[in-house]
Symmetry: C2
Subunit: 469 residues, 2 copies
């Protein structure tokens, strides 16, 4: 154990034992450096680690604080323990029945895949739409349709530059949301019958896409905090003809795990060694709660092996359906697949977002959005601690808007899903996130909606149902 | 030969011999009925036939006139004579090299797939966008995204009702343009390796989609005026396990042919007999030059076998990327495939079009658009007659914005494409419309842009190139 890890553990102990209480400011770096007799950089590293673990949080210009819920005893869920090597995927029916249940607007949307649309600057975006349509020439419409709107692409490339990726414009393909980017990326490197390494649990659309394309899943367990299990991935890559990996490196859906930088480096080396392309689903990249954005694996991609997929749907413009992929060496193939499939995302949606990114103060909106989501996480965690039975485990992601609950073994989340829905509460039951339909006592809950008395009542009701098993 | 056909041939003779001259009004139905001693309904039938053949045209409330170019001697092209039964498709590379050539905005866009964006009410649409975004509630954005915008779907269903189809809302799936509708429809009824009957020549994206999905083409020749050859289709359906047909019933791309109503009925009976679904690509439906819209095969679809695909891209809102499919018995499967692929077309684009359809006077715009396209067809036909060599054949479609030329046998259209492009003129060479890369002495020319001195010069230049072979 390194010195900073030991220091982090010491402080974590103070938090768990209630010596440092939720909301309390922890010692400044200078102060801690003197107190513990270590260098300021060791203190910094320890604090980053604690922040990663969701125990403390930085507030701009005021230092580090113990997170409101850091002291709660709810432990984190366990990793997937299944040992199956490959799986035929057949989860779609189940997913559609869950999605169908979300249509009722009076349902408490814990099962939703989207954060509340109230969190987004829709009126400001509408002004950008009006402005950009006024200046768009008819002939640009046709040009933008095949190649993508150049202003939008420049703004996306600029954001990559800030995060350390110099992206040639030819690598960028603008798509109908991230889902099309992911679909086309996968199609660009696989054929029916191929093996694809995915996470377990995984984003259900990933499972559906594999099913539709007749691909086989190689499920790699995801640790609730550290992310995908690299030891098992290494074994599978060595023993199976895996054609692609599809992973979320940050705030993984559903568990919220992120790979740290050294694990990202290790994963990238593995990919290079086997020359296996990575489809990096990074749709929650902007929803980090820490001081600095997580670095995508794309930042390491010297060989063009990474297809980095994201969108504006979760961070700015829900329903506009504008996403993209930085496609590495597969970009041209992806662009061509897009021309055969949908041609282009809506041009007005592209120009409106481009105008907003230039003039709308995106970064201020993102700061507010992150703060709202983080506070709502605290609220849901506190509520779960009050209402859910002993033996419940939960993740504490450092970004996004999902909590992943592991309930006591006697809970059947499909049964819970039905019971809850009858009471007007939706949730996303564990089996929809698994090709092998595991995770029967797990569920994903969405905290992307403002917290209020009704949310609290719904959690209390869920708690009573959980106890009834 | 029936009485009305004989009468039509007589009048056609008068036109060809220059007795009735271009632009001249032909006798009223009452007058002709007396003169020829036949019933008014026989005269009507004869006039509809002449209109179908592009020899005369109706003008609202003023009667029938000889079409400006009806007297030209250029004959129509011949049908495909190939006898191959099934074909592996591999045309994508060629298509992309042609499409890539269109990017230069200074090129004369005879090779383009789009009509000029100047023909569309873009400013009025932008006002509809501003207005609809002002009234759209944030929560509708999420609801519209999964199910489609209800106002838009109602407007689409209304237009179906007017054309004689009572469409249950559940049958309608809103998509990212017609191309996504076609893709998903095809996927909903086929698996890799299946046979699909398509037209020869066919829309090149149809060939690309077959190639991508690893389907095999059964090419059915298209007569330049009457449409797909039903005799050959009947034979193929009887002898081959065809899983789906993909046809354009009106203004077929590239040749412009339309099936008349009795041939549509015959085709539908064939489909029912073999229980083979039809993907009906009807994107030019609104661009008819006659008095009445052509009836899609969907109007006959009592069994839910027809997936009728269209969009607003060619008639109202280029670049908005909003299309749909009336999916018959396959609608639910198509809707699910869409949720796995792109989720939804852009919600603002949907609401803007819905607002325009309600308040924008769509029908007035369409009348102007049809008139512009028809006049431009006359201009291109006249120009071709002036400049292209003897032995050139050409279609005279009763709608859309493409002419299909068959040049003398010594012309190589791929060679012509290269020569023309070097002079700043694009065109769509015949082989991109054929799985077997036939039609080497054919080309599709787009007349969807306003005609002027530059267009005339480009045609003259093409004429000189054609003579050089």
């Amino acid at each position: 154990m390194k010195r900073y890890e030991r220091l982090a553990d010491d402080i974590a102990g103070l938090i768990r034992n209630g010596i440092l209480t939720p909301g309390e400011k922890i010692p400044s770096v200078r102060h801690a450096s003197k107190t513990y007799g270590v260098s300021p950089s060791t203190v910094f590293q320890a604090y980053y680690l604690l922040e990663d673990r969701g125990l403390i949080q930085a507030r701009a210009r005021s230092g580090y604080f113990v997170r409101a819920l850091a002291g709660l005893p709810t432990p984190e869920p366990r990793s997937d323990l299944s040992t199956q090597e490959t799986t035929d995927v057949g989860v779609s029916e189940l997913v559609f029945s869950v999605l169908g249940s979300l249509k009722n607007p009076h349902t408490m949307p814990f099962g939703s895949a989207f954060p509340s649309p109230d969190l987004f600057p829709l009126a400001r975006l509408a002004r950008s739409m009006t402005h950009s349509l006024r200046t768009l020439s008819p002939h640009d419409i046709i040009a933008d349709m095949t190649a993508g709107n150049p202003d939008l692409m420049r703004q996306i490339a600029l954001r990559y530059m800030v995060s350390g990726v110099m992206l040639p414009m030819e690598e960028l393909v603008v798509t109908n949301g991230a889902l099309e980017a992911l679909n086309l990326s996968l199609q660009s490197v696989t054929q029916a019958g191929d093996l694809v390494a995915i996470e377990s649990p995984a984003f259900y659309a990933c499972l559906q896409v594999l099913e539709r394309l007749e691909l086989k899943a190689v499920e790699i367990p995801v640790h609730p905090r550290d992310g995908v299990d690299l030891k098992i991935l290494r074994e599978r890559l060595a023993s199976l003809p895996i054609k692609a990996c599809w992973f979320m490196s940050s705030f993984q859906n559903p568990v919220g795990a992120s790979l740290n930088e050294s694990r990202k480096q290790e994963l990238y080396s593995l990919l290079c060694e086997h020359q296996v392309p990575l489809i990096e689903d990074d749709v929650y990249a902007e929803l980090y709660y820490g001081e600095r954005p997580p670095k995508p694996i794309k930042t390491l991609d010297t060989q063009g092996l990474v297809m980095h997929c994201s969108s504006f749907s979760k961070s700015l413009a829900p329903g506009y359906r504008v996403g993209w992929v930085a496609g590495g060496r597969f970009a041209e193939r992806i662009a061509r697949l897009k021309l055969m499939t949908t041609i282009s995302p809506s041009v007005p949606a592209q120009t409106a977002i481009a105008d907003y990114l230039q003039h709308g103060n995106y970064d201020r909106h993102l700061r507010k959005l992150r703060y709202a989501l983080e506070s709502q996480q605290d609220a849901m965690l506190a509520s779960a601690a009050r209402h859910f039975p002993a033996g419940t485990r939960v993740t504490r992601p450092a970004g996004g808007y999902f909590l992943w609950f592991e309930f006591p073994d006697n809970v059947d989340s499909l049964q819970l899903f039905k019971l809850a829905l009858a009471q007007g509460i939706s949730l996303a039951p564990g089996p929809i996130f698994s090709a092998s339909q595991g995770f029967r006592h797990c569920a994903r809950l969405n905290y992307g909606h403002s917290w209020g008395a009704e949310s609290e009542q719904a959690m209390a009701l869920l708690g009573r149902m959980l106890r009834s098993f």
